[in-house]
């Protein structure tokens, strides 16, 4: 009964991926093309800025979702479930729509620009740059990270916090010594998903500007404008390897710390 899925998966994923790998090594540069991502200045810059924006996104999202998620898990008040629904609503918005949301906020006719004009007299437009991309990635990472953190916070033993408090720990010490260690597996796994998604995302950057220098856009440009299929294949294979490795690493790390905690 596993056979239909197995055949489909082999025919349309494993074989094409193998082909992609071979084509990646069949260009002008041969197999050294796989090193180009670090030896070629342009690709290296593109890789570094991709990793930088992904890292910044992950850090910002974990802080924002951590504060909001723990808060919503700990306090029930009228309207709190509506807040949870609203915060997780954009969960499955596609990248293009996220890009448009950034334009609505920080574009030429955007809300932030209008607010800035009202306050300072100058319109603030940053949607079509790295800052806009960062905002878009944070936007689509918040819902999924909040869900993971809320689920993990639910399982934390409240007695541990009470014990810490009764021993005289300040709220900050409780957060640092009880809550954050308890949530480490959730932070690791949702942070990895957040990082990997930001590294591989394409739609948001595509909507905002094709001149933002991130790896997925570089691949797209190689493929369409330069018709350099071999290079596009190489770069996307490397991109896939990066995101897969990040997720696998985090799973191992989170699994290990879960085991250690148990």
């Amino acid at each position: 009964m596993l056979l239909p899925a197995g055949i489909f998966f082999t025919a349309f994923f494993l074989l094409p991926m193998a082909r992609l790998f071979v084509i990646g090594g069949s260009g002008k540069m041969g197999w050294t093309a796989y090193a180009a991502i670090v030896t070629n200045g342009q690709y290296l810059r593109s890789l570094l800025s991709t990793l930088a924006v992904a890292a910044a996104t992950t850090a910002a999202t974990l802080v924002i979702s951590g504060v909001a998620g723990i808060f919503l898990q700990r306090h029930r008040f009228p309207g709190s479930s509506v807040l949870v629904s609203l915060l997780t609503l954009p969960l499955a918005f596609p990248g293009v729509v996220i890009g448009f949301m950034v334009i609505m906020l920080a574009g030429r006719q955007g809300l932030i620009g209008d607010l800035a004009r009202a306050l300072t007299g100058e319109t603030l437009v940053f949607a079509y740059s790295m800052a806009g991309l960062f905002m878009g990635y944070v936007y689509f990472s918040i819902p999924r990270v909040i869900l993971t953190i809320m689920a993990a916070a639910e399982k934390l033993d409240p007695h541990l916090e009470e014990a810490a408090r009764s021993l005289g720990a300040s709220p900050w010490q409780v957060v640092r010594d009880v809550i954050i260690p308890g949530l480490t597996p959730a932070f690791l796994s949702s942070g990895a998903i957040c990082f990997a998604t930001a590294v591989g995302a394409f739609g948001t950057a595509f909507t905002l500007a094709t001149r933002i220098n991130v790896l997925p856009l570089t691949i797209y440009t190689e493929f369409t404008l330069s018709a350099n299929i071999a290079m596009a294949a190489t770069l996307s294979f490397v991109l896939g390897a990066i995101t897969w490795a990040v997720l696998a690493l985090a799973r191992t790390a989170a699994g290990a710390s879960v085991a250690a905690a148990g």
Binding site: P16, L86, G99, Y139, A196, G240
Partner: protein, 270 residues
């Protein structure tokens, strides 16, 4: 009720701010889609003109996206539910390895998967130009969600004992699958189905490379509209998309509430 401290209000304010960040652009784009001139604002009056314009120009993308999403649902049900069943029955190292493998299309960027499909099958002309090519990509991407969702439910019940009981009463494999596995996995199948339709409807990264001018899906049309049409039209198009996707997302949230999930399958208890 105990008095809430300053910390509570600070956190509440922060959470509300995050919520505003997520929801404000949605509201703004809906408003822009029904405003005569967004630059002037609501003073210019409300209109459905842009929605009609989108409907005239992009109706085909709406129907194509629905069609692909339903076909994708059928395919992921046919491939994913049996696969999840097998994986639930044999929780071995091999089973977990297969699960890991099946999830790879989600871990790898859609751009890479789409390029791989193009280099492998782009030369098959009848396939390259049909929406079947997009469907293949969507099934690859959505299958893990169906498998995981069904597996989560089937993995939590003692299938082996239930099936042995039925087998000892003379039930064949097929009747066990239909009367035990499917009913017990119902909530997982439902959640997985909603997820698959939602994801397929919004998939862009792969579809952008796999589509041809004659096989545009809704998100592809959205990208077109954002790039070349006025803000109001892009917004109206987004509004059409929201009307299709938001009910699905609300359904997913509703299913995701554990209280209701437990309530929905009393017979699933051991």
């Amino acid at each position: 009720m105990r008095r809430r401290g300053a910390l509570f209000w600070l956190q509440l304010a922060f959470t509300l701010l995050v919520c505003a960040f997520l929801i404000a652009p949605v509201v703004l784009s809906i408003l822009a889609g029904i405003t005569n001139n967004y630059l002037i604002g609501l003073r210019s009056g409300l209109t459905l003109r842009w929605v009609f314009e989108v409907w005239e120009g992009y109706r085909d993308t709406v129907f194509r996206s629905i069609g692909i999403a339903l076909a994708c649902l059928a395919a992921t049900l046919a491939l994913g539910v049996p696969a999840a069943y097998v994986l639930a029955r044999c929780r071995s190292r091999l089973g977990r390895a297969i699960e890991e493998l099946l999830v790879m299309p989600v871990a790898i960027p859609g751009l890479a998967t789409a390029l791989a499909l193009i280099v492998a099958y782009g030369g098959v002309s009848g396939l390259r130009t049909s929406w079947g090519f997009i469907l293949i990509g969507h099934v690859l991407f959505c299958l893990p969600f169906m498998v995981r969702s069904v597996l989560a439910v089937l993995g939590a019940i003692d299938l082996r004992t239930l099936e042995e009981g039925a087998a000892s009463l003379g039930a064949g494999f097929w009747s066990r699958f239909v009367t035990i596995v499917l009913p017990n996995g119902r909530s997982g199948i439902l959640a997985g189905s909603l997820m698959v339709v939602t994801l397929s409807m919004g998939e862009f990264n792969m579809t952008w490379l796999l589509h041809t001018p004659l096989t545009k899906t809704l998100p592809v049309g959205l990208a077109d509209a954002y790039a070349s049409l006025r803000l109001e039209v892009g917004s109206a198009y987004t509004l059409v998309f929201f009307m299709m996707i938001v009910p699905l997302l609300i359904g997913l949230q509703w299913l995701g509430q554990p209280r209701r999930q437990a309530y929905a399958r009393p017979e699933g208890e051991r």
